[in-house]
């Protein structure tokens, strides 16, 4: 499972980097989103994978029963997702405005380097 997730995040990274290197603005956003997801997967995998119960104290019990999964990586990922959601929402508005203002979806042409 760990190996699978490691490969998956590698693939996501590769795809993200490839998309970022294209000149289209829309692909740039997609690439960044891929890399963000890959980062979240890395946290998830590095935080340790075990098939265990969520870390919630059962009704009436005083403490957690072993084995339970470490909740912190999940909390980190959740926070990271929420934040990247906000950032990408803004980024989408930004590139839409850029496109409206210039009519271009091409990073090189935006810089005034035709070709």
């Amino acid at each position: 499972m760990q190996l699978l997730l490691a490969i998956l995040s590698g693939v996501l990274f590769a795809a993200g980097v490839f998309l970022i290197l294209r000149r289209s603005l829309m692909r740039l956003v997609l690439g960044l989103i891929f890399i963000g997801h890959a980062a979240n997967l890395v946290i998830f995998t590095a935080g340790g994978l075990k098939g265990a119960a969520p870390a919630i104290v059962a009704e009436g019990a005083r403490q957690l029963e072993q084995p339970y999964a470490d909740p912190l990586p999940q909390a980190l990922i959740l926070t990271a997702i929420v934040i990247s959601f906000g950032l990408f929402a803004f980024f989408l508005v930004l590139i839409k405005r850029t496109y409206q203002a210039s009519g271009l979806d091409d990073l090189d042409e935006l810089d005034g380097r035709k070709g």
Partner: protein, 142 residues
């Protein structure tokens, strides 16, 4: 987006979805749910309405400017930290109150719920600010 089915559906679904979002908000303390996901659902309900009937009616349906909602939400979430200060505990410490109500019995109310309510409002405000900026051609921007 002028489908009759969509418009009729939006009129009845938006209130239902908003209600469901309140349900998510309230059950979120110990079960999956909470202010963020509830806020997202409420925001998407209004976004759905806007897609079916246009952004202007959606704004009217909402009545409040999204950015005001965002500010109020932040204020509410912030104020959730204050009871702890009055009790002499560090900022944002969870404080609980158990009023006895008829029929229900002891109802645990706490500052985490109040905080979640703030998150709920702030998320609706933020998402809709961005959403209207995307939908309206010459809107207010992000």
């Amino acid at each position: 987006m002028s489908s009759v089915i969509l418009r009729i559906a939006a009129r009845s679904l938006t209130p239902l979805l908003s209600l469901a979002s309140l349900f998510l908000l309230l059950r979120g303390h110990n079960a999956p749910g909470g202010g963020f996901i509830g806020g997202l659902l409420a925001a998407s309900a209004i976004a759905f309405y806007a897609m079916a009937l246009g952004p202007a009616p959606a704004r009217r349906w909402l009545r409040i400017v999204p950015r005001t909602l965002l500010a109020v939400g932040l204020l509410v979430a912030l104020s959730a930290g204050l009871p702890a200060l009055i009790a002499g505990r560090p900022f944002l410490t969870g404080m609980w109150w158990h009023p006895e109500l008829p029929f229900i019995g002891s109802l645990p109310l706490g500052t985490p719920l109040w905080f979640d309510l703030g998150v709920y409002l702030a998320v609706i405000g933020f998402v809709l600010t961005i959403f209207f900026a995307l939908v309206e051609a010459e809107g207010e921007g992000g």
